[in-house]
């Protein structure tokens, strides 16, 4: 199980090969890669800037992965989140899961990325042709999070 927060890009094939090699029982590998889009609505994205809360972001990811391990039978998890300035088409985030069976690998991968978006302290600032804007959590991300029945204070809802 590994967590990395880094400015450098990652090699998806190398990451999956390492995860696959972690156990001879791996029967299913699932990966999600988040990429920088080229348009935000009608506005062309020039770049995005990502920052995180050092210390808390690592702890939050560890907690999310521990919760995934409690819910599904997993053989390995790899999570990479990039920070700094990224351009359209670049990779932002990787979540990869290994399990004996695909059901566990699929569900855990989706759970981890949904949970990450609502509880891990990362912030995204978009630079478009219209200017600069810090993004708010999307309603659609909150709805995806709610499906997993997680009872905790997240970084997106109202703090009242």
């Amino acid at each position: 199980m590994g967590i990395s927060i880094q400015t450098e890009d990652f090699d998806l094939a190398a990451e999956l090969a390492a995860l696959r090699a972690s156990s001879k029982n791996v029967g299913a590998l699932v990966s999600f890669v988040g990429l920088v889009r080229d348009f935000s609505g009608d506005e062309k994205i020039e770049n995005i800037y990502l920052e995180h809360y050092p210390g808390m972001s690592e702890k939050a990811l560890e907690k999310i992965i521990a919760e995934a391990n409690a819910r599904w039978q997993l053989l390995g998890v790899r999570a990479i989140h990039r920070i700094g300035t990224l351009h359209p088409g670049e990779q932002i985030v990787l979540v990869a899961t290994a399990a004996q069976h695909r059901g566990d690998a699929f569900s855990a991968c989706e759970f981890i990325i949904d949970y990450l978006k609502s509880a891990a302290p990362f912030w995204k600032r978009e630079q478009t042709t219209q200017g600069v804007e810090w993004l708010n959590t999307k309603d659609s991300d909150m709805q995806r999070m709610e499906r997993w029945d997680i009872h905790q204070i997240t970084g997106q809802g109202d703090m009242q």
Binding site: L50, Y53, H81, I113, F122, K124, W134, G155, M159, Q160
Partner: protein
Amino acid sequence: MKINLLYFGRPRERLNTSSEIVDVPDNIATLGDLLDWLRNRGENWAHELADNRVRCALNQEMSKSTARIRAHDEVAIFSPISGG
């Protein structure tokens, strides 16, 4: 009472502050009190730290405004998270 403050995202940029140590008066007991106290710094602070614009973590755990703060706590103030 001394509190270690950290800022991330929009308020960090707009208030041009990433960290500071503040010495708050004794009547500041909760995160909500702390935010109110910081809003008194001026119009820009009141605007950027409005309830609907910020979230907080207390000692690296997401927290509500009713959470009690103690001396030397680490309080982070940030815009809604948007990673992934």
